[in-house]
């Protein structure tokens, strides 16, 4: 679990990204660790302000400074520490080895350049080929992401395309550079449900055909269930639970994860009344002393109010939960040891 395994693409170790604000320091990401294997998809789930987007911007080294700053931890990508890279070196990595797509593709595309020129620019910037070859490759990529009449679409401007088409263009750009890691931040949130299904399908194809790893950041548990191999649940800047996708949905241990799953209306079952999580999503400037979820937690005890629970691994290091009251025994396994061992990370790859 030291990031030396050949199949580990990305390792985030005790990452801390803080923001200085008028109201004090906001610990947007406060000591999170995870690993991502090659060809794997990691889902990061959480609500507004939980730190999921700051995590991805930290990996890309795109935290605006000031007010934000990565104050501690490490981000190791293919064995190299991204936090030690110069801005110039990062420019060579962004959009090349690591690509990112956002909720609203219009904000990440240049409105006064044709989509073809933008894809070709990315190719020319990172690959040693001529303009003609880059254009040909751009057409090929548009076709591969399912854009009809790619030769024609190449000369379209972003505003002439629909939201779903724009997101396809963004994915085509990532593919054309053979990105090893795609960070998708709420990639389908702004899209209609039938278009969302198309994009999810495309991301699956991309993973199997190109072998890319994906970090999928979303609030939509349905999207996570359909795409992710492993899942991290974040709350107030910390990881509260991590596990493989089956265990998150079938055997969640953190009261917040359980609460989230119970609070959503479902089409595959009938729920008379939703089990809402009472209270509000916490304000990062006024976090409680102990567990951040404590004020909303139905199982909170005195200890939860004053002491932050560590992320304790169990199930032979495959899962972890940060809760004083969570059941961490797994059948045929004595998980208590791993708590006292207080490993920082169980490893998710």
């Amino acid at each position: 679990m030291e990031g030396t395994l050949a199949d580990t693409l990305l390792e985030v170790k005790d990452l801390r990204t803080y923001f200085r604000t008028e109201g004090g320091v906001v610990k947007a990401v406060d000591g999170i660790s995870f690993e991502l294997g090659r060809g794997k998809t990691l889902g990061i789930v959480g609500e507004s302000g939980c730190g999921k987007s700051v995590t991805s911007l930290s990996i890309m080294r795109l935290i605006p400074n000031p007010p934000g700053k990565i104050v501690g931890g490490g981000i190791v990508f293919e064995g190299e520490d991204l936090l030690a890279k110069s801005e110039k070196q990062m420019r060579g990595i962004r959009g090349n080895d690591i690509s990112m797509i956002f909720q609203e593709p219009m904000t990440s595309l240049n409105p006064i350049m044709t989509v073809g020129a933008q894809i070709a620019e990315a190719i020319l910037l990172h690959q040693d080929i001529g303009a003609g070859a880059a254009r040909k490759k751009a057409i090929e990529m548009l076709a591969r992401v399912g854009i009809p009449m790619p030769e024609k679409r190449l000369d379209s401007y972003p505003h002439q395309l629909s939201g779903g088409m724009r997101q396809r263009v963004m994915i085509a750009m990532a593919l054309s550079c053979n990105s090893k890691l795609l960070i998708a931040d709420e990639p389908t949130t702004a899209l209609d449900v039938t278009i969302q299904a198309q994009i999810i399908d495309l991301m699956r194809k991309m993973r199997s055909e190109f072998g890319a790893s994906i970090i999928l950041i979303t609030h939509d548990l349905g999207v996570v269930a359909g795409l992710a191999d492993d899942v991290i649940v974040m709350y107030a800047g910390k990881i509260v639970e991590k596990a493989d996708v089956r265990n998150i949905f079938k055997d969640a241990r953190h009261p917040y994860t359980i609460g989230l799953l119970q609070s959503i209306p479902r089409i595959d079952e009938t729920r008379e009344r939703l089990q809402a999580i009472e209270g509000v999503v916490p304000n990062q400037k006024e976090l409680p002393l102990g567990c951040a979820f404590c004020p909303r937690c139905i199982r909170a005890t005195e200890r939860c109010k004053v002491e932050v629970p560590p992320l304790a691994s169990f199930d032979e290091g495959r899962r972890a939960v940060a809760c004083w009251n969570a059941r961490i025994q797994v059948a045929q396994n004595t998980a208590e040891n791993s708590v006292s061992g207080a490993k920082t990370d169980g490893g998710i790859a």
Binding site: Q198, I200, I267
Partner: protein, 323 residues
């Protein structure tokens, strides 16, 4: 709902907007009714006309043609002088709780304003009534002196609901009331709307794109596509037996939060056509796998398949005639 009368009857409602590219056929001939005390869910994707429908029914937009009756009275014939009385009975809750509350008014003023406008409380009775309304929506009576920016999204939506409730309406049009909220907060608001419906005897037109939410809260659901209602049925019937190819695709596209239930999806090709130039015949034919000649020429009428299950589809009709 048997025995209860329709509180709202909409017939052949049309709303076109002029634009430089030609008229936008946002709503293009829809008919439905809502029975007192029920929730009718209205679903569809962006541009299908669902929000426009809500606005036209409140007369926030004027209709192009068609009729709508609320408690038997023609909504579109209401004169300016009667509008206030109508708006007392029909209220709306909007999607964005940040945009729909005046930032310079306290919560007490926001909720109290409709009470004063409609002469439902004098200055003396105002405060206790505002406090009562705050409690009804799960807020604290002391919140009345605060401003909207001091509240979270979910709390602001509660304020918007309290404002709608202030005039004791009969019908509330909910336009995407939980779409802007966090997952854990959505459930609170959905539960609140359900509780209020029971205690205050409310009728809802619930407009949303999220089918899981709509299924949870509605009694009946109508599915819209490009300005038309393509299918309408009791919610259990609709989910158990979706008849229209668009409904089938829509239902199968919903991501299910269970890794073991990732069945085959019906993937629709391409995007929905523009409402400026909707396809001739059935509007869905350009993306429909069952489309045949007739679908391209002739618009399908809504026919009843089983009790109160309406669907407008030539292919379905043809199959029914063959069997």
């Amino acid at each position: 709902m048997a025995g209860r009368s329709a509180i709202l009857e909409v017939s052949d409602l049309v709303k076109h907007f002029p634009s430089s590219a030609g008229s936008v056929k946002a709503v293009d001939g829809i008919s439905f009714d809502i029975v007192e005390g029920e929730t009718l869910g209205m679903v569809g994707e962006s541009g299908c006309g669902k929000s426009t429908t809500g606005k036209v029914l409140l007369r926030l937009e004027e209709p192009t043609s068609g009729s709508a009756r609320f408690e038997g009275k023609d909504i579109f014939g209401i004169q300016k002088s009667e509008m206030k009385a109508f708006r007392r009975k029909v209220q709306i809750v909007f999607q964005d709780p940040f945009a729909s509350l005046d930032p310079r008014m306290t919560v007490g003023e926001i909720i109290g304003e409709p009470l004063l406008v409609h002469h439902l409380a004098d200055r003396k009775a105002l405060k206790p009534r505002v406090r009562e309304l705050l409690k009804m929506v799960g807020l604290d009576a002391t919140h009345a002196d605060r401003y909207p920016h001091e509240f979270s999204g979910g709390q602001r939506q509660r304020i918007g609901i309290a404002r709608a409730l202030a005039v004791e309406p009969r019908l509330i049009i909910c336009d995407e009331p939980v779409s802007a909220l966090d997952v854990s907060i959505q459930a609170q608001i959905i539960n609140l709307l359900k509780d209020l419906q029971r205690t205050c005897g409310l009728t809802y037109l619930f407009i949303a794109h999220d089918l899981s939410v709509v299924k949870h809260i509605s009694d009946r659901i109508c599915v819209m596509y490009l300005g038309k209602i393509v299918e309408m049925a009791d919610k259990h019937e609709l989910f158990a037996r979706p008849l229209h190819p668009y409904t089938q695709a829509l239902l199968s596209a919903i991501p299910i939060p269970d890794p073991d239930k990732q069945g085959e999806r019906i993937l629709l090709e391409g995007d929905a056509p523009s409402p400026v130039a909707p396809p001739a015949g059935c509007r869905f034919h350009t993306r429909c796998v069952y489309a045949f000649d007739r679908c391209r020429r002739e618009e399908p009428a809504a026919l009843e398949y089983g009790a109160r299950h309406f669907c407008a589809c030539h292919a379905l009709q043809a199959r029914g005639e063959m069997s």
